[in-house]
Amino acid sequence: MPSAFAASVVFLRIQDFARRPASEQARLRAQLEAVVAVIAAELAAERRIVLDASDGAAVVVLRDPRGALRLAERALAASSAGLPLCAGLNHGTLQTVGRKNNEGLTGDGIAVAASIAQFTAPGRLFASRGFRDALADAAPGREAALVSAGSFNDPSLRAHELYKPDGNAVRRRGRRHALLGIVLGIALLGGGIAYRLSVEGQEASVDAVLGKVPYWRELVRKVSR
């Protein structure tokens, strides 16, 4: 067995679990179990490991950050059904511990996800920089769905950059890139024109240069009609 491996961790924490009456703890735990049963079933068994946590559950997702993000978002949708879930996402190193058939997982991957979930408000999801990078690696462009939400220091005083999902961020980025592409294209076109003008000197007229632009004359003719 390898000594360590990297994976995405979705830590689902029930807010103030320890402070609630036992009957409510049992109810919330049962709800969480039902939610995890549904969302975990969407991932192939060889891609996920579900772990117990004292105040929730952690789902370790192997080599599928997109799946991990989807899973966290699906779990949070349960918050509207009265389950006060806080989600923390991280991508980090983990290690298997314990004997065969009684293994557990430990490592920074879980610890950071847990401390992020501890920091998060119910119904919210925060992801670490590590997770965003892993998402970018797995699906370039998808990381734009996670926008900066500041930073926080965990109990060990380590600073973590946090990102939150923004449904419109991808569309906004697409529009921004398209606009930038058009501006850049026009600038390059203008650069070509300027170069030509400078090369042909006084004799060259704007008309002559523009005449070089493909389909320019046809365009002018159509517009002037």
């Binding site: 390898p2 000594s3 360590a4 491996f5 990297a6 320890a18 402070r19 009456p21 036992a22 009957s23 409510e24 703890q25 049992a26 109810r27 735990r29 049962a30 709800q31 179990e33 039902a34 995890v36 975990a40 068994a45 060889e46 891609r47 996920r48 490991i49 579900v50 772990l51 117990d52 370790v60 192997l62 059904a81 009265g82 991508h91 190193t93 298997t96 293994e103 590590g130 892993a134 970018a136 699906a139 370039p140 462009g141 980025r173 398209a178 930038l180 592409g181 058009i182 850049l184 294209g185 600038a187 390059l188 650069g191 070509g192 170069y195 030509r196 090369v199 070089k212 632009v213 493909p214």
Partner: protein, 379 residues
Amino acid sequence: MAKKTTKIGRYKILGELGRGAMGIVYKAEDPNLDRIVALKTIVLEADAEGRKEYEKRFFLEAKAAGKLNHPNIVTVYDFGEAEGVAYLAMELVEGTDLRERLKEAKGEGLPASDALDIAQQVAEGLGYAHERGIVHRDIKPGNIMLQRRGQAKIMDFGLARMRVADHKTSTGMVLGTPKYMSPEQVAGQPVDQRSDIFSLGIVLHEMLTGTRLFAGEDAPQIMHNVVHVEHEPPTRIKPELPPMLDFVVARALKKDPAVRYQDVFELSADLANCLAELRGKAPAAPAPDGTRTIKIASADRAAPAPAAREIAADSTLPFSRQFDPSAALERIARGNPKRLARGPRAVGLLRRIVLDSSARRLFFFALLGALAGGWIAFV
């Protein structure tokens, strides 16, 4: 041969009920009221300083306990000192103590309904005392009397102190029985009602499972276990117990008093719910393959703390068992260690253009402009 005691104060001694670390308990008769009582006396220490301290504690106990009048607390009738002997006249409870009852169970624990019933009665008694500012500080099976009809009574508020007098133990003097102490008690810190809740949690766990929590070879090891070792959930030891008991015991046994039950009546209410659940319906039997069905109450999920019997959560398996991780662990074991441990790579330009549609659009427009500009410039 020592002279047999026949009278202490106005009480006529009828026999000896037992001897403890603190003194002798006699069965005695109060001739004024024609009432049979349990008379607890102090075996006074030889040195004057120790004797003074002991007497002081004894009368503090008497004053504290004398204020309590509850069906689940042994009533104190009188206290005093006669001929150099300090005594405390208490209600004589016919029955046995919980320690004996647990011994009779031979490590099997008590039936769950009996255990919950006893714990709830003790919680009610403690709640009454806590409301009056009195903390027991030594809740253990030996201090819980069980009458024949099943009524439980807390006795020996011998370590009880008025909450306002907490500073009296701030010198670090540890009072209590190590096995049933709370972490803050072990640490010699000031204690409040939450300490009794922890002790009752230990007693409840012992009644349910028959196992002794925080057992150790000597007092320091026991104290270490109390502070650092987590308990095993009762359903892991006895799977037939209702899963909700895990939550009740876990909350009572939180090491941090701030996240423990803050009020023993909260614990009592949860125990009543568990008892109702236990009496109301038999627990769902596991399927032949060992799995259990997870059901969710269809009532308003946002409603706070429904009665336990309304909670149909009979899944006792931890997540790690419900969702078999063997396939994923197998994948990890089979995988290339270097590849598995590899962190995220920076996304290169080419990969970005090929896989990111937004970046591809930008690149397309820029390329178009560059081609057109180049055409104009050079052709």
